[in-house]
Symmetry: C2
Subunit: 757 residues, 2 copies
């Protein structure tokens, strides 16, 4: 790809982005689309336009995004979303806004709400601060260098000549100008330290404030207890829990809820729920059929056999009703069985104040670590019930097995893909799926399939990878959804950095230059020096093309919109089904974040080698910030709250990328035969020290709640019975409150006198 | 040293041991020596012979030692001493006793109290179990091997031929007999795993039982708070502590005591104390001078100048009395100043129950780890007051500086010693200390000094090393004496293993064989294979000679006895001075343990190469167990209690030695050109896994108190005022109780109503 075609595709993507943005502006104003563009506001019971001045201006959303504060984000989408923005960072926006103001644009009437609160800065800030110094200094040096020295170096010939001139590859070996690049390497590192340090403190304060909140949060009164030893004979697990925790916390222990094996109950409950939905749907269809032409209506029918696809035709309404009446007692008896006989060695224990719960989550209870493991309880909605009863050693072994599988996945994922594509050759396909034969015999389809089958296997693999990694993380025995997503996100990050970034760089270097090295083994450094900037142009294209189309699609929500309208038209009959169709889901930063990190890693690593990449990095994170700010405020609804527990992971990944960048630079300066390369050696050491200090100072608060934070006053005395009930699994609770109370009492067995608030 | 001279010196040491033992039996029966041989019993107010049948049998002490139980040790010397015995281990004793019983000796009347409680096993157990299999199997193999294959190998010629025949060096290269040694390597490793695992559990139970004790232990009600941030304006540190901890622990907070800078007060107090002792002494001298010849007596005199050596003569009684009367008000005013103006950023905080104190010591209090650091309070007697107020970062930096100095000490200690010996040449000595010139001119002294000055410097260095390491450990900012001693012990262990064990082996290999390697570089493996057993004979001598003389001196307590009698005769006048002269001190396992570990490391590393060493190892630990059991039950008095916190350190050191052993074996089999050497590779991996699991399961309870243990019932309601007062520094408390209360109130400032028990 030469420079003009790069510019062309850049221009095209930009045009696509603009088109999508105008589409968004137009579509989002139609009331029938509001559930797609404002679901967050609708679900919170707000008017979609509340607090927004209606204009026909397609850029209004930008103004809204820029003028929103961190407090708005926390209000609409919680601390976790705000933390993600700290990572994406508002640094440039702040700076840009101030700059614009100074430059006179501030005098025009576009009243921008300038943030007066503490500067939040993250990835964007790193790139902006780096760019401010690097672009005006390094680009002229690189550009003028070649004019002086005209050695016959092997830069990526014919491709991107104009950009190559702006890269470090253009500087001659051993040139004194390299000192400027050394200084730039230090500058980028120090900027990163400064911003990471500030951000960590900022996020820590944000977390503290959220946890100090006077609102009653159920999970702050509970701890999760695992690895409960077998009770003594004649003692129920509940009695055992009661006597154990009452001895330690005589005044603050409230109740314990033993985790039960709900597999069967869940299955019945899901079946029951399905029939209820179907019944509601059939009723709507029946009501609709009662037109003027047919005042009696047509009673819908279904089949009584497997999957309702075979068997004799029956009246749907009656059939579903019968099924429901059969399942309700079945569920009730199973609930009783589960509560009585399927108790597991785990429990949620409730305390009547936050300090005790926070302290209990941090303390060693038994002398052996593998018994009575106590940890902060996650929210009830994100408990992974089946994992709770896995014992200490099972968890440990599962964890290492999973790590090993992930290791294999990262390093040898090409092998199964190769195998699958070998097995799914055309000949095999014809044998396995004979009815496809006539299709496969078409010569065009044959050619396309023949050429693309391996790529298709790869694409399918990459598309399934996040789910596969999430599945693996859950298999580790992690107790909460959020924790599993964090773990999966980490695995995905290492996969992308190792395979995409390092893979492409090394691949590019090896394959393009194998011949040159074969001819003259000593030229390996020259080749490396020439290849790194070559890969830079590849990544520049990657970053540049990725964000316009990606963020355009994100903003316009074309795909969810089409799916929603299709479902609405052909599938949804009841109100509930409709609601399900437009449910926005959450920000899902578990998979979003590793993608961002890949871009940040690439930009950071090439920031000094090819500073132009910084511009695209700033654009990526700036645009991302704008688009996602809009989405977080109006679209996505968080499905859980972790109060910023994702931050240490983000911090660690940025720190790893920084180390990778520093190692790359040491290697690259070495390849440039720059004899003062050792002046860069202190950098990685400094980074390790920085990481160590930063983690030590801040990390523990992200593991557990500081008591100083937990001891703040509450707005009201917590309703402990309500807190307790919020943890009852839905398959164990029934609609009638009386029955819930019955079950709850079954669960708690012995209630402390006077503890019911 | 050839075999016969080895046997001679072994015999000599044995005779020395026997002589010392009979000396002990004779001396310990003389009532005037009881304070030296039974100080533990005397200090506990027991009769020296209580519960002991008096006989003239010089072996009685052995019977007493063997028949004593772990409970006796805990009663007399605390859990820490018992833990040391778990390390030394009673395994063999148990086995031996049972064996003897079976063999018929049990039928005779020497009623041995056989332990029915859980088998305690440690270093001794490892060696015994290893020896049971290794000696009968490997020795015949090694001895017969050479007879078959008569290659011209270079075993350490002329020295220890008989022993060499019993070592693995005697087996030919690539011999199939090596498989037996492979099996032996595995056996020793598994024995060590088994014993370490059992011992860890046993010690953990012991610690739990001691901490569960219904006795009120002051330190269990207190936590140490460091890094207290500067209080707000107008607020005292006491008020700040009060408001902070009362918010978190509203029901259980009792009082806080701010640490003050007592440097000046301590100095005055020490001076005052000195004068008081001198006054008491002078009074005794005056009373004694009142004989029949001189009924008035002679009033003792002293000098009023520097160190009481110069200046005009004065009446001692009057002079001391005047000084004391001067110092008392000075101390009192300084006490007030310290309490008011010299408050530091550290405090001891008291709770009125054990669970809260144990929980507080484990919890994060502030969101930042570098503020409000809370940890379990050490006993008042072992607080290192000056370290308490050192802040988080100062501690961190000090720690790393100390680690660096220790690193330098371990690897480069020869350099300063070389420098010192270079500076203290005879010529320099003559210049520096001219008055020694006549002595130094004596030709014999000249020769001796010339030859031995460097060695003397080395001996002085090695003698001072433990104190130097303790000084360094204290300089790290560690808050308690026991912790500092554990840290120093670890440093000392690494010093001895690296310098003595590895130093000697490598030195032996390198220096002896440098020529052979120079001639034929490929012979390096042959040389190594030949040298390891060579070093083994050196270490065999080392171990064999060390214990008889060392333990003989330990048992007979000749040196303390002589010192005591000299002091009693010439120096001590008052009762207090006499008590000071026979005060036995504690077991001091901080320096004792690294020595044992060095022996264990050596024996373990050579257990397969030269199995005979196992016999001497068993003798060393068996004799050590006997002698120290006697000393612990009758002599030493522990100066602090840590409830077995030393154990994880012991465990770690044994584990490190095990790894060293396995690495040695892999290397040695490699040197034997045994092509199946890789079958040993799983061993170090297995060891690392074992260490990881074991530490994970057990270690946390040694860091902090499990709540299940802390919540046990107390015998009586603790007298919180007494607990509080036990932490007042002696230089801040005065004799008059009323004044103490005054100071205590100054310290606590605001007392909770109703909290004074």
């Amino acid at each position: 790809m030469d420079f003009s075609s790069f510019l062309t595709s850049l221009g095209t993507s930009f045009v696509i982005f603009l088109v999508l943005m105008f589409l968004f502006a137009w579509l989002s104003r139609r009331p029938s689309n509001h559930v797609i563009y404002y679901p967050n506001r609708i679900m919170r019971g707000m008017d979609p336009y509340e607090g927004i001045r209606l204009t026909r201006n397609p850029f209004t959303w930008i103004k809204e995004a820029v003028s929103s504060t961190e407090a708005d984000v926390i209000k609409h989408s919680g601390v976790d979303a705000a933390v993600y923005f700290v990572f994406l960072s508002t640094g440039t926006v702040y700076i840009t806004v101030n700059y614009l103001k100074i430059e006179g644009i501030g005098k025009c009437n576009c009243k921008l709400n300038i943030h007066t609160h503490e500067l939040e800065i993250g990835a964007l800030g790193i790139l902006v601060f780096s760019g401010i110094l690097l672009l005006p200094v390094l680009l002229p040096i690189a550009y003028t260098a070649k004019n002086k020295i005209d050695a016959n170096e092997t830069t990526s010939e014919g491709t991107f000549n104009e950009l190559d001139k702006l890269s470090m590859g253009h500087i001659a070996q051993k040139s004194d100008w390299l000192w400027a690049f050394v200084a730039a390497t230090y500058w980028v590192s120090f900027v990163t330290y400064y911003i990471l340090w500030r951000s960590y403190r900022h996020v820590s304060n944000m977390r503290a404030e959220a946890l100090m909140s006077p609102e009653v949060k159920n999970e702050q009164f509970a701890v999760l207890v695992r690895d409960i030893p077998a009770p003594e004979k004649g003692q129920s697990i509940n009695e055992q829990l009661e006597s154990y925790f009452k001895a330690i916390y005589p005044d603050t222990y409230y109740k314990a809820m033993v985790i039960t094996n709900n597999k069967v109950a869940n299955k019945i409950y899901a079946e029951l729920d399905g029939y209820r939905k179907k019944l509601a749907r059939a009723e709507v269809i029946y009501a609709e059929s009662k037109g003027t032409a047919n005042p009696e209506g047509t009673r819908p029918t279904t089949r009584a056999g497997f999957m309702e696809l075979i068997g004799k035709k029956v009246d749907a309404l009656e059939y579903y009703d019968k099924k429901i009446r059969e399942l309700v007692p079945k569920l009730e008896s199973e609930q009783k069985i589960a509560l009585k006989d399927k108790q597991q060695s785990a429990a949620v224990v409730f305390f009547n104040n936050r300090v005790t719960a926070a302290a209990a989550g941090q303390c060693l209870h038994d002398t052996m670590l593998d018994k009575w493991t106590v940890m902060d309880a996650p929210e009830a909605c994100q408990l992974l019930w089946t994992n709770l009863s896995k014992n200490f050693y099972e968890r440990l072994i599962r964890q290492y097995v999973v790590y090993f599988i992930v290791f294999l996945t990262i390093f040898f994922y090409m092998i199964p893909i190769g195998l699958i594509s070998a097995l799914t050759t055309l000949a095999n396909l014809e044998k396995l799926v004979p009815f496809l034969k006539p299709v496969l015999e078409q010569s065009m389809i044959r050619t396309i399939l023949g050429a693309y089958l391996p790529q298709i296997a790869l694409i399918i693999f990459l598309a399934l990878l996040p789910s596969f990694l999430l599945f693996l993380s859950k298999a580790e025995g992690i107790p909460s959804q959020s924790h599993a997503e964090r773990a999966a996100s980490g695995k995905y990050y290492y996969f992308s950095v190792l395979n995409i970034f390092i893979g492409v760089t090394v691949g590019h270097t090896l394959f393009d230059s194998f011949k040159a090295i074969e001819d003259n083994p000593n030229s390996v450094f020259d080749v490396l020096a020439a290849s790194l900037p070559g890969s830079a142009t590849f990544f520049l294209t990657f970053v540049a093309l990725k964000f316009f189309v990606g963020y355009g699609l994100e903003l316009s929500r074309i795909v969810p919109l089409i799916i929603f309208h299709l479902k609405k038209k052909y599938l949804c009959k009841t109100e509930d089904e409709l609601k399900e169709a437009w449910a926005p889901g959450d920000l899902n930063y578990g998979t979003r974040f590793p993608d961002d990190m890949l871009v940040l890693t690439i930009v950071l690593c090439y920031s000094v080698i090819a500073p132009v990449i910084l511009l695209f990095g700033v654009l990526y994170f700036g645009l991302g910030w704008l688009v996602l700010r809009n989405q977080v405020l109006k679209v996505y609804v968080p499905s859980y709250q972790t109060y910023g527990r994702m931050w240490p992971h983000m911090y660690n990944r940025v720190a790893v990328s920084l180390l990778l960048y520093q190692a790359t630079m040491v290697g690259y300066f070495g390849a440039k035969e720059f004899i003062y390369t050792p002046v860069l050696i202190p950098l990685p050491i400094l980074s390790l020290l920085f990481i160590y200090f930063c983690t030590m100072k801040y990390y523990r608060f992200f593991q557990s709640t500081a008591l100083d934070v937990a001891c703040r006053e509450l707005k009201e005395t917590p309703n402990m019975e309500g807190v307790f009930r919020s943890y009852v699994a839905c398959s164990l609770s029934t609609e009638k409150t009386a029955e819930v109370v019955q079950f709850v009492d079954d669960l708690a067995h012995v209630t402390r006198p006077g503890s019911a608030v």
